[in-house]
């Protein structure tokens, strides 16, 4: 009897007791759903901020300041940075540099009295060129030297609902929304962009917040880093743009991950107990059947494996249905404050193949944990006693 019991025998046992199977699987599926949602949330946040900017741009901020909002760079510092090696040049031989000014502005959320801190980025035409992923999808770009702004698609949707033609007041001025841009679901979609010099005037700022510099090629980052290190009087920190934003998502993503995993583990206890109850009952109901199988020559190992398979199948079914439900969560968009930067970030939940695999394995594992003890009990039944039982 090398082959053991066939899979169809195992599967039919689950189908035979529909209500029990459905209830147990429903409990497990809910756990799977929570687990998958949490992983998708952390992944969505990482994807949003990690996909912000380009690899060949470098963010320059004041030494020690961790975010662009905290940073200040003087005009002298900016001039010095332009002379550094490794920088790309534009069509007219000028370095590709965007001097940017960021402020946090309180905007009300729709359907709520609470205020969110939204990033308003004062940028330059070069700055727009350096972020080709941000495309205007509605209206037009802001004109330099005017009180015009464009809003990211995250600000246009959901809890803010800004539209072309809206007027927003900040910095003692009214700003006209003239366009909506889409930056492919990246962190820029949670920002508002306007003309840097105008914003600096409005907010009476003398200093820039950050400098975005283009690299000549992806390898010249090291040369630039070395040059910065040789001039300690510059007092700046540099990071590749993609890395800069990816680092800003780490704390919140980790927090969501840890919180979610703790909750999932506690919940899974309930689901494992459910699977255990079901599998014990499955063994108890079939005592005579097991005795018959053993009398026919099936070994203890075959019986254990059959019941384990049944539990795993139960877990798999639960995992699949939980996953299908979680897949719909991809339609949900979350708007919350990233406490690391103190600013609003809008992101969607993302289901990756890796998450799907992890979640299914977890679900099958729950099934195995629930089925192990009952399967073991089934295999220990003595043939004669089992056949005699009612």
């Amino acid at each position: 009897m090398k082959k053991g019991l066939s899979l169809s025998y195992v599967a039919r046992n689950l189908v035979a007791r529909k209500l029990t199977t459905i209830l147990t699987a429903a409990g497990m599926a809910l756990v799977v759903f929570v687990f998958a949602t949490v992983l998708m949330m952390a992944e969505g946040l990482r994807h949003t901020l990690g996909g912000t900017g380009s690899y060949n741009n470098v963010v320059v901020i004041r030494q020690g300041s961790q975010t662009e909002v905290q940073s200040t760079l003087t005009r002298e510092q900016a001039r010095l940075i332009e002379t550094l090696p490794g920088l790309a040049t534009g069509a007219h031989g000028e370095p590709r540099i965007s001097r940017e000014m960021l402020v946090l502005v309180n905007l009300p959320r729709k359907n709520s009295t609470s205020l969110a801190n939204v990033i308003v980025r004062g940028t330059t035409p070069t700055g727009l060129e350096m972020r080709p992923q941000a495309r205007i999808v509605q209206g037009r770009a802001f004109r330099a030297g005017s009180s015009e702004i464009v809003v990211g698609s995250g600000m246009a949707r959901g809890s803010f609902g800004l539209r072309v033609g809206d007027r927003i007041a900040f910095g003692l001025r009214q700003w006209n929304v003239v366009g909506v841009f889409d930056a492919g679901g990246s962190g820029f979609d949670s920002e508002i962009w306007g003309d840097g010099e105008q914003l600096m005037q409005a907010f009476r700022r003398q200093a820039y917040s950050s400098l975005i510099v283009g690299l000549r090629d992806s390898g010249s980052f090291e040369a630039l880093a070395e040059a910065v290190a040789r001039q300690p009087q510059l007092k700046v920190d540099i990071k590749r743009e993609t890395q800069f934003y990816a680092d800003q998502s780490e704390n919140l993503a980790n927090f969501i991950g840890v919180l979610g995993k703790t909750i999932t583990i506690v919940f899974s206890i309930g689901a494992i107990i459910g699977a255990m109850i079901t599998m014990y009952a499955s063994v108890a109901n079939r005592t005579r059947e097991i005795g018959t199988l053993r009398a026919l020559g099936f070994r203890r190992g075959n019986i254990v494996w059959a019941f384990l398979q049944e539990a795993m199948l139960l877990g798999l079914a639960a995992g699949l249905s939980g996953l299908v439900a979680a897949a719909f969560m991809q339609l949900v968009e979350i708007s919350t404050t990233n406490l690391q930067t103190f600013s609003e970030v809008v992101f969607s939940l993302i289901l990756t193949p890796q998450i799907a695999l992890d979640v299914l394995l977890f679900s099958v594992f729950m099934g195995v944990l629930g089925g192990a003890l009952p399967a073991f009990r089934a295999s220990r039944l003595e043939i004669v006693d089992a056949l005699r039982s009612v």
Binding site: T24, Q66, M276, I277
Partner: protein
Amino acid sequence: MQAVYVLRLARKNLWRHRLRSLLTIAGIAVAIVSFGLLRTVVDSWYAGASLSSAARLITRSEASLSFPLPVTHAARIRRVAGVAAVSWANWFGGVYIDDKHFFAQYAVDADSYLELYPEFVLPPEQRSAFQRDRRGVIAGRKLARKNHWQIGDTIALKGTVYPGNWSFMLRGIYDGADSKVDENQFLLHWDYVNETMRALLPSLADGVGVFVVNIHDPSQAAEVSAAIDSTFRNSLAETRTETQKAFQLGFISMVDTILLAIQTVAYVVVLIIMAVMANTMSMAARERTREYATLKALGFGHGFVSMVILGESMTMSLVGGVLGIALTFPVAQAFFSATRDLFLVFQVEPLTVLLQLGSALLIGLCSAIAPVVNSRRLVIVDGLRAVA
């Protein structure tokens, strides 16, 4: 009389599958504990804000907290009718050792700040030592204990908002007036930071993050707030004044999406265990189809059989529920000790206990529905013939 029979029968039925019943009760207890704990986490998050003094207002920049207000506002706020005292504080945001050793640091006006926070209890000699030494700082009891600081220690911070390497001298350790005062704060001299910045980065000098305003009459909070804001209307630095409670609730609302998620998840756990329990009951009822048919054949009505089923499920869910409620308190205590810095208070609210009990009842009730319906539909002859 009949009730006693029903209960006795239910108890006997419960005891027939000891393992299954115990597992189910354990499952319900786990679910009720996690439900209570999740609710308490959300409650405690909000609780921090409700503890703040009603007579204290916070004035900050209208645009957002990241804009400093000129320190000269202090004198003008003091002149507003109804204002008793004014002080100010800046978020310092220095890094101690590394990011993992985070704690809140405020650069405060040393002369006036402690007057406004009588709940920070500090021996007079430590207080004057702090006020005399520009590099002096005071820290909360919990914070000092966590980092093993003694009075007289030098504490080095790496500036983020205010660049540079800073070194401070611990001059005092404050205790909270009661257990609800945050003992994790770190207060340093605003003057010291300001003078350093004036020499180094003039653009950051003379700025104030928030003004703390004490008012004579807490019931006048709204009027005084409006009066302060109108003083600065249409100036370069407009203000937004609100009670300290509203200010803190504003912080909490930043993460309210996450709080909402936790709350939703708390109800999901009830659903999970409902499925588990419903399964147990339906299994038990299926095995006893013949017994129910026998009872009916003997002349007991639908009602009696239903009561037996309901009695069994309610007993199980209530035992599990009460066990869970009893366990919630020690578990919450352990959770609080494990995350001591995260919450100021961590108390299981009476409403939470009530909801836990309600959930247990609901679980018991819902899981009996399918078996009760089935037993009503049961035709005696079929039931007697049934094989489990």
